[in-house]
């Protein structure tokens, strides 16, 4: 378990060094995308329409923040991760289309995403669920916002961050998946857990 400081744009080489359980902090540009931004980004890609940002080497954050406007400037109030499994249906295509190097969220992602990460050279960084102030604290400024028509949580917020983390590498570019490993361990414990409440058979 090592700790890394990464700066965007992040190279494929740097990403392929990371292993499950490593801790990563990111400085540079992170942009948010939830269900609807993923869907729109892929539609635009299919019709050769460029995204509002150049996503290569950046980190995409599964997050619907609380943002407010103060003196014509956007101010980030709170920005914790949302449940990543909802993006499982888009993420493999998203990774291949845009070469983002880090996907940040909570709760982990599935086999399709892990396979795409291995192919493209990307990792999944688990950010502590609910730790919205900690996340907002590392955001220096909101650089831009796109697709506000999708609403505050679903819009694409482009943020300049410094020492954003800690992110636990939960899927690495070898395809290893920490959440799957934990699930297997939990399955091994199931009978013992039943016994603790006096249940006999399975």
């Amino acid at each position: 378990m090592a700790t890394y400081e990464l700066e965007t744009p992040i190279s494929e080489e740097d990403i392929r060094k990371l292993r499950v359980n490593d801790i990563v902090f990111i400085s540079g540009t992170v942009f948010t995308a939830r269900d609807e931004a993923h869907e729109r980004a892929l539609k635009w890609f299919e019709s050769n329409k460029p995204l509002p940002i150049q996503p290569n080497g950046l980190a995409v954050f599964h997050c619907g923040p609380i943002v407010r406007k103060k003196d014509e400037q956007w101010e980030l109030v709170a920005a914790g991760p949302t449940t990543s499994t909802r993006m499982e249906m888009f993420e493999d295509k998203f990774l291949e289309a845009f070469q983002v190097r880090v996907v940040i969220g909570k709760g982990g992602m599935g086999a399709k995403t892990a396979a795409a990460m291995k192919k493209v050279g990307a990792v999944y960084g688990a950010f502590t669920g609910g730790a919205a102030v900690l996340a907002a604290n590392t955001v220096r400024r909101i650089k831009d916002v796109a697709w506000l028509d999708l609403g505050m949580p679903e819009a694409m917020w482009i943020m300049e961050v410094e020492h954003f983390g800690p992110l636990i590498v939960a899927i690495d570019a070898t395809g290893e998946n920490l959440f799957e490993r934990v699930k297997e361990n939990v399955e091994h414990s199931r009978q013992k857990v039943y016994q603790l409440v006096g249940l006999q058979d399975s």
């Binding site: 378990m1 619907g64 609380i66 709170a78 502590t128 730790a131 414990s189 409440v197 006096g198």
Partner: protein
């Protein structure tokens, strides 16, 4: 007591709830960090505690999902503003959305429209209890979506009984895994009917961490299920570890001879609640938090 004064108290409760985690919960998180053996789990608990401290210091929401607004009201029938309470709560939610701020979280399920003020059809939702006297007890209970998504109803048969309940709870929590932002607080409602056991389950989430049921047989089951769930190894945020739940609370109602309803309500670590007692004369006492 004027309506506007009561409205301000409710805004204060909403602010306290979303920015200041009750000390029983943060103490339980500290204790969990102390006991935890898994280093990834430790990093998650440290991040949570740092986040809780920052939110308190700066008075900003500890989580960006500030929930759907639910209130528990216990009010004396002689409280002068009794009939105005729903309107006052709705106004307070609108005001708090702007001033705290809260994330606009109410979406019309038919039209997919978000009015942007956290109100709308049946929201804020009010749980009523009418009592004797003239005091008003309010608990603000903003409930986040991630943990709500793993709540469950089990219409078991009497033959499945208590063993069936335990299996249902364990299987559901294993299936939930990382999704409800563990370490969680688990509320179990037993008996009544489909709606009653779910209501009871959610009400258990109001009970402070560490408070046991007064019935020794039930409190023993709470302890037993808590220990068992912490043996699953799901851990904080589902990344593995010793801390999966902070507590388990069980509430019970009589059941129909043919039914054995089990409600399971799950609360993320950001167990947001704030309470106050208000008298007819306008005296306000905040009961969940120390307020200067």
């Amino acid at each position: 007591m004027h309506a506007t004064e009561l409205e301000d108290v409710v805004v204060n409760l909403l602010r306290l709830a979303v920015t200041n985690l009750p000390s029983d919960v943060s103490d339980a998180l500290e204790e969990a960090l102390h006991k935890e053996r898994n280093s990834t789990a430790k990093s998650q608990l440290e991040a949570i505690l740092e986040n809780v401290t920052l939110a308190r210091q700066r008075s900003i929401p500890m989580c960006q999902d500030t929930g759907i607004q639910i209130f528990y009201i216990s009010v004396g029938s002689d409280f002068s503003l009794l009939s105005e309470i729903p309107r006052i709560l709705t106004n307070a939610v609108r005001k708090g959305t702007q001033t705290i701020p809260l994330r606009p979280n109410t979406v019309n399920p038919i039209l997919h429209e978000n009015p942007g003020d956290n109100t709308g059809l049946n929201v804020p939702w009010i749980n009523w209890r009418i009592t004797e006297g003239s005091d008003l007890h309010i608990t603000a209970f903003p409930k986040g979506g991630g943990s709500e998504n793993v709540c469950k109803l089990g219409m078991l048969t009497p033959g499945q009984g208590l063993d069936g309940m335990k299996r249902f709870v364990i299987d559901s929590m294993i299936e939930a895994g990382a999704k409800p932002c563990p370490p969680t607080i688990v509320g179990i409602g037993l008996g009544g009917g489909a709606d009653i056991c779910m209501k009871l389950a959610k009400e258990q989430l109001l009970r402070p961490v560490g408070h046991r049921h007064s019935d020794s047989q039930i409190s023993k089951m709470e302890e037993e299920i808590k220990e068992a769930l912490n043996e699953t190894g799901i851990g904080p945020m589902g990344l593995g570890g010793d801390t999966t739940v902070l507590d388990v609370h069980i509430g019970v109602a009589m059941r129909h001879p043919a039914s054995f309803p089990v409600g399971l309500a799950v609360q993320c670590w950001a167990a947001r609640r704030a309470s106050a007692t208000i008298t007819n004369e306008g005296q306000v006492e905040y009961t969940s938090h120390k307020v200067e």
